[in-house]
Symmetry: C2
């Protein structure tokens, strides 16, 4: 099942069910007004949404929206909680070299809490205060859970993963190492993320939902040029493990989003990267200096992961960075 949120002038938009080909959508208003509401009442509404989905696919719904022309918001335009992991070891190792710090310990997941009161839609312009901050994208996968009790095991956590999403976790690299050095994590270095149009139930991935990971490449294009196609499988901790880690001392509220961290593979020289900082890290290793600049105002980034049979899955993030003070 595929779900999305369409803008109606409110902060939360309205929930729609989306056809497999992303051509059509229909309002789920009779079932749940918003994505947040659906997640809070998931076990009750899921069968009804599924029914609506079947009806949409077989052409039994008359009130249909042209999805490609709709003003699409993030599937969950704001969330009570966004916890982002960093579960790809090759990313952590490169970043440690860039920051000049020890590589992270691998005995427990890395995770920070980030801004969640706004997630940008997949085609929204991205306002940033200054190019001097080192504007960078970070392609990720994420999961959305319903309420997760404190102290769950990874096995129990798996059942609470209701939706999978594709995220651009915007980062400001000139600020990131300064904040990281404090041990307090990032505030200024992490403005709101962007999210691809469609949130999907795990079954939509078929065999590509593998060991609690998204076993698909994330295609990243910067200014129209392929930048990376790293695969989502080599996570050192699975999504269920990340969820259990997050729930160790807190109940996770319905609608909590948990991110994978930047998708990154050991063979980055072949597949490329999902953020500029990684490429700069590689350049640092190769040439003793970073040669690629971070993003400029007007730059675009496109991110999409398609199914193993090359069908649309989350839809694409296609965005432009602009000056917040223009």
């Amino acid at each position: 099942m595929k779900l999305s949120t369409i803008d109606n002038g409110t902060r939360d938009g309205f929930l729609v069910v989306v056809s497999a080909d992303h051509e059509r959508a229909t309002s789920a208003a009779g079932i749940a007004a918003t994505m947040q509401e659906a997640l809070e009442r998931w076990t009750e509404v899921q069968p009804q949404l599924q029914e609506l989905n079947y009806a949409l696919e077989r052409g039994a719904i008359s009130d249909v929206v042209n999805f490609s022309e709709a003003k699409i918001m993030a599937p969950l335009p704001r969330s009570w909680q966004w916890l982002d992991g960093s579960a790809f070891d090759s990313h952590g190792e490169l970043m440690s070299k860039v920051f000049g710090i020890d590589p992270p310990a691998r005995d427990r997941p890395l995770m920070y809490q980030g801004i969640s009161n706004q997630f940008l839609g997949p085609r929204d312009d991205v306002p940033m205060p200054s190019e001097a901050d080192g504007i960078d994208f970070e392609g990720e996968f994420g999961v959305i859970v319903d309420e997760v009790p404190m102290g769950v095991t990874p096995e129990q956590a798996l059942a609470h993963i209701r939706l999978i999403v594709q995220i651009n976790d915007w980062s400001l690299r000139a600020i990131a190492p300064i904040e990281m050095k404090t041990g307090f994590g990032w505030v200024q270095a992490k403005p709101p993320c962007s999210v691809a149009p469609v949130a999907v139930t795990p079954d939509e991935l078929g065999a590509s939902w593998r060991d609690g990971r998204v076993d698909l490449p994330l295609l990243v294009d910067w200014n129209g040029k392929r930048f990376g196609a790293a695969g989502g499988y080599p996570m050192s901790f699975s999504f269920p493990e990340l969820v259990a880690h997050a729930a160790r001392t807190r109940t996770l509220c319905a609608g909590t989003i948990i991110g994978s961290g930047t998708v990154s593979n050991e063979n980055f020289r072949e597949v490329g990267s999902s953020c500029i900082a990684e490429l700069r890290g590689i350049e640092l290793l190769d040439y003793g200096e970073a040669r690629t600049s971070f993003m400029a105002f007007g730059d675009t980034v496109r991110m999409e992961a398609r199914t193993a049979s090359n069908a649309p899955l989350f839809g694409a993030i296609e965005q432009r960075v602009v000056s917040a003070h223009a």
Copy 2:
């Protein structure tokens, strides 16, 4: 003006205006249903709430609640954003000694983003998973803002500080240094905070709202015994500076709560501390070892800051720690 939120079985409760002596309260339902709604429409609703407050004080309201017997929630029972500073230098220095790390740089505020989907009420039991996690309280002051544009100056930020609150930022000390070492900040080490009953407009503090700081002692009692009475004035960064810091690369949504970090004074040997970790740090300096244990299940903590003339201000946090798995 004093505002509070009373439990009605919903996550957000309902907004009430509270009398100066904390004896009576009356519903603000005709003006704003919830604290979040009031903050989103602050400039519009503030004069109406103020009128209601005057009417309550002069006995012109018939529909009055006995406030001391009401089931009081946190003034904002959940928020879209909680950003906690650490603005008391003497706390940072002691903590660095405890953690065996360099003292924090003082050129910019320290700040992390914490769990905000739940703030416990002032008398709620506090469920914790394990005594082995090193359960500690942290007495703080905090401010609540209406929407703050990205890039404001501290001078501009001051006008967005609409309410002042008193907070217990619960901490798990066995986990804190492990998470801090990653540079990602705290997730497991920071379960939901508790908040004192009443949120007050800055004018309620009179001259004790001084240079954007709360110039009042925070009285902390652990198991009925005075533990600390540190003053809120010696912040190295003021609340307007903390707000401006937070808004450097993001718009702060209405209802964002910004914390001071543990209230701490240089003369801690005289005034005591607002968290156990500080006392343990002092013991480490004095005896080469920490002698005071962290909290046990069943322990209570009470925190209250009163006005300069010893009148009630925020009301008191009075809580008991319990096992989450009992």
